[in-house]
């Protein structure tokens, strides 16, 4: 089985490098021109040929300042949140120490869609904040984890030695944007329809996806520095269901909610915030929008209504420390939090 390696792209550093090259070129035009940086933009890298890619990544190079971190075997944020989220905190700690990180997923036997989304969003967040190649890694080496990872579209957003050109009909590859686009919600519907999901369920899905995009745009990033939302879907043949995952890498739902006086007092005296309780309150339509406007704060209640109508199964919301499995009515706070908000649900076909 081919080993797949990837490397986060350098967005800020590449711009600086191009500027430096141009400056040197202007100063001494007689100097031999060096080739420009291999890939343009953080979104994609398409080196000219496979051999060149393989030569660039013959083996993972463990530099002196690089720390290798081994991902959990069950790399699944919804089903195995403590271990999976703790792993990202290990990465945070290594990066905070000024080191580069190599994420070793060689031993991963199960990886979920939302974990792949979160890994991508995390890498882009680090790239935006710290500018530069700080993270690289490999892919799972066992099936079906390797296929899911390789075909998810993740490799389109990083530099890699392996390009996957096949378009699996069982996957709606990673989509990433900031706008609220009904057209993308329609893609999810069409994907569901192709795999036998009923029209009743699909009508709810459209509203749910658009409201999630709205929430990202309006509430996830109160500061001006906005990132993206990410979405992916896949058809699970063994369960005969379509799974959809949506993620934003913002501040988390509880940070964007208006808190009541007693909740602010609890926070002030250092008592735990009970983030899951805040989210449940917002889902139930209690007036929690920080905008203060009566007609706002409709997104979460509308998502909850769709769930209550029975159209969304196995519904998870993971946001900062809150972990809600609505289908099993299990809501709790975790010891370590996710950066952002993740939704995942199934549609029976």
């Amino acid at each position: 089985m081919k080993r797949i390696f990837w490397e986060a792209t350098q967005r800020k550093r590449r711009k600086r490098r191009i500027r430096d090259v141009e400056r040197r070129r202007k100063k001494s035009p007689s100097r031999k021109r060096r080739a420009a940086s291999p890939s343009a933009g953080a979104q994609t890298s398409h080196p000219p040929d496979q051999l060149a890619k393989q030569q660039r990544f013959p083996q993972p190079l463990m530099g002196q300042s690089e720390k290798k971190l081994i991902a959990p075997e069950n790399f699944n944020i919804c089903e195995n949140p403590e271990e999976s989220i703790a792993f990202f905190h290990q990465i945070d700690k290594a990066l905070a120490g000024g080191r580069r990180v190599f994420i070793d997923m060689g031993l991963v036997t199960t990886i979920s869609m939302e974990t792949i989304l979160y890994l991508l969003s995390y890498i882009e967040y680090i790239g935006d904040r710290h500018g530069g190649e700080r993270i690289r890694g490999n892919a799972p080496e066992t099936e079906p984890a390797q296929s899911l990872f390789a075909e998810s579209g993740f490799l389109h957003y990083v530099r890699t030695n392996q390009f996957v050109t096949s378009n699996s009909s069982k996957l709606l590859k990673i989509r990433r944007d900031l706008d609220t686009t009904g057209a993308l919600a329609r893609e999810v519907l069409q994907f569901g329809s192709e795999h036998g999901v009923s029209l009743d369920q699909l009508g709810s899905v459209y509203e749910v996806v658009v409201e999630m995009m709205q929430n990202t745009r309006h509430h996830a990033f109160p500061e001006l520095n906005m990132l993206h939302w990410y979405l992916m879907a896949r058809y699970n043949e063994s369960e005969k269901s379509v799974e959809v995952a949506f993620l934003d890498n913002g501040v988390g739902i509880s940070q964007t909610l208006r808190k009541r006086v007693h909740e602010n007092v609890m926070q002030f005296v250092g008592l735990p915030k009970r983030q899951h309780a805040l989210i449940v309150s917002a889902l139930n339509g209690e007036f929690r929008t920080r905008t203060g406007q009566d007609n706002r704060g409709l997104g979460l209640p509308s998502i909850k209504r769709c769930f209550d109508s029975g159209n969304l199964q196995d519904f998870f919301i993971v946001s900062d420390k809150a972990h809600l499995h609505l289908s099993k009515n299990v809501c709790r706070d975790m010891p370590k939090g996710l950066r952002g908000t993740l939704y995942k649900w199934k549609l029976r076909s």
Binding site: G203, V210, E211, M213, Q214, R217, N295
Partner: protein
Amino acid sequence: MTKSSIKELNVARDFSPTPGGRFISDGPFSGEEFRTVHLEPALASGEKLRITLDGVFGLPSSFVDEAFGVLARKVGPIELMKHFELVSERNPLLAKEVLMRINGQLR
């Protein structure tokens, strides 16, 4: 009022089958765009509008609130419904939800 004085507006055909978010700045085919381009001119000119909701992939709450809810809060739901007729034959729940949003009953 005669049938000829009623203007027909099919949301999917005349606006978009994929309604988007709340504000124009959120992305294409927003509730704000629908309101300013289609609903407010009809209201201002006093004409009656038959709005067909069939054919849209869905109507997000934020879209409906910005398109219809804003006007309902401005002129009142009763006055608004004198000018608008909602039609949704394939999925009657759609029209019902919009009406509930206009009457301020949905949260």
